[in-house]
């Protein structure tokens, strides 16, 4: 029997550390984990147990949490999520965490607690000699002018410092009010406004001189192929975890300078 890390409801199996990995690199985003959605927390735990502990690396590309108030938040109801990070650490699976628009207050303390390496948006990685850009995706939604203005405000050091200096209850109230506003505004915005702007996508491929982009945020999972500046370009959009999980699995390939990818549901 191998030891286990466990809470009252979930047990993370700890395998023999010498067991070979699956070799896959996993990408997820938009889980919107919150104590209000215990079924999704359980699904994430299953994903960690069944897939992530065997993986070569795990990339989380934003909105992992529905909101993140700061390290003094006891995060009641999210205990299993933190145990999952412990299990990943035990298996030596590197975890890279990019924040989204919901959890942009994660910091070095959070990184220490979860053993994740926090990565900036955007981040360029190399898979089998192929450059791939990772983003959360909200910066591509340039048609949503109200959101982009709001983002500018809350990302200033001044706003973040002021927010951090408030009591936990005050922060909870602010976030509650922001979530309500966001819900109302989202229901009134057209689908087009909340998707990426094609010019912003083209500019991203051109600026970073690469052919692969992976992002989340829009909750519209899909694979889009383009020709930009006579070069082929592919944009992979991760899905959200609402009714089911959504993962992108990438494996190395026997073809040089390429990789094998699969966008799949996790149920």
């Amino acid at each position: 029997m191998y030891p286990s890390i466990q809470s009252s409801s979930i047990k993370y199996q700890l395998l023999n550390k010498t067991a070979p990995t699956s070799g896959e690199i996993l990408f997820i985003s938009d889980l919107h984990l919150s104590p209000d959605r215990p079924a999704i927390i359980k699904l994430f735990s299953q994903f960690v147990n069944q897939r992530a502990v065997h993986a070569q690396a795990l990339y989380i590309l934003g909105d992992f949490f529905e909101y993140w108030l700061g390290n003094d938040d006891p995060a009641e109801g999210l205990e299993e999520v933190f145990l999952a990070f412990d299990a990943l650490k035990y298996h030596n699976v590197p975890v890279y965490f990019m924040h989204g628009n919901r959890d942009f207050l994660v910091d070095s303390e959070f990184s220490k607690r979860t053993h994740c390496q926090i990565i900036p948006d955007p981040t360029k990685i190399n898979i089998n000699n192929t450059k791939v850009l990772l983003m959360h995706g909200d910066s591509l939604c340039t048609d949503d002018i109200d959101y982009q203005e709001f983002k500018k405000t809350v990302r200033t050091e001044k706003w973040k410092n002021e927010f951090a200096s408030k009591s936990l209850t005050e922060r909870q109230n602010i976030v509650h009010s922001l979530r309500e506003t966001s819900k109302t505004e989202t229901s009134q915005k057209s689908n087009e406004i909340m998707d990426v702007n094609q010019n912003a996508v083209n500019e991203t491929f051109t600026t970073h001189t690469l052919g692969w982009l992976i992002h989340g945020h829009t909750h519209r999972p899909g694979i889009h192929h383009y020709t930009i500046n006579n070069q082929s370009a592919t944009r992979i959009v991760l899905g959200d975890w609402h009714d089911h999980g959504s993962i992108l699995s990438i494996h190395n390939s026997p073809s040089e300078n390429s990789f094998i990818y699969k966008l799949e549901k996790f149920i």
Partner: protein, 169 residues
Amino acid sequence: MSENTKVKIETSMGDIELELYPDKAPITVENFLTYVKDDFFTNTIFHRVIPNFMIQGGGMLEDMSQKETRDAIKIEADNGLSNDRGTVAMARTMIPDSATAQFFINAKDNTFLNHTAPTDQGWGYCVFGKVTEGLDVADKIISVPTTVKAGHSDVPVDPIIINKVSIIE
């Protein structure tokens, strides 16, 4: 029923014997045997060695130059054979019908390389044989230190040379 053809790959780290499956991959086996008969593989190397994945060779020389090959063959990856540990499959570019001489030995069950759909991403890699003896040699090759050479990653620091490939039965 006739026995399947067996070939021996003599490498600088030991011999590996393969059984080929002409019934399942007729074009691929015929293509491979043509290269064997032409003595094409002599002095080529295993130039791409990735632990927990595969070893790939049969197309490049020690100086990392590519040997000139015959025309590419039609892919037969939809033959139902799985890229399991010890099986041998054809390497190729991202274009499905692009395999020539390079082959690889799967070091573990790489089922994600199997055929799932007739698309660029789904075609998979064509298995045409399996190692019957010398899998330990393949395991030894996979654990050698690697480096970047001539723009290629995962190249063994000390070249693993294929001295000869011959038909043994």
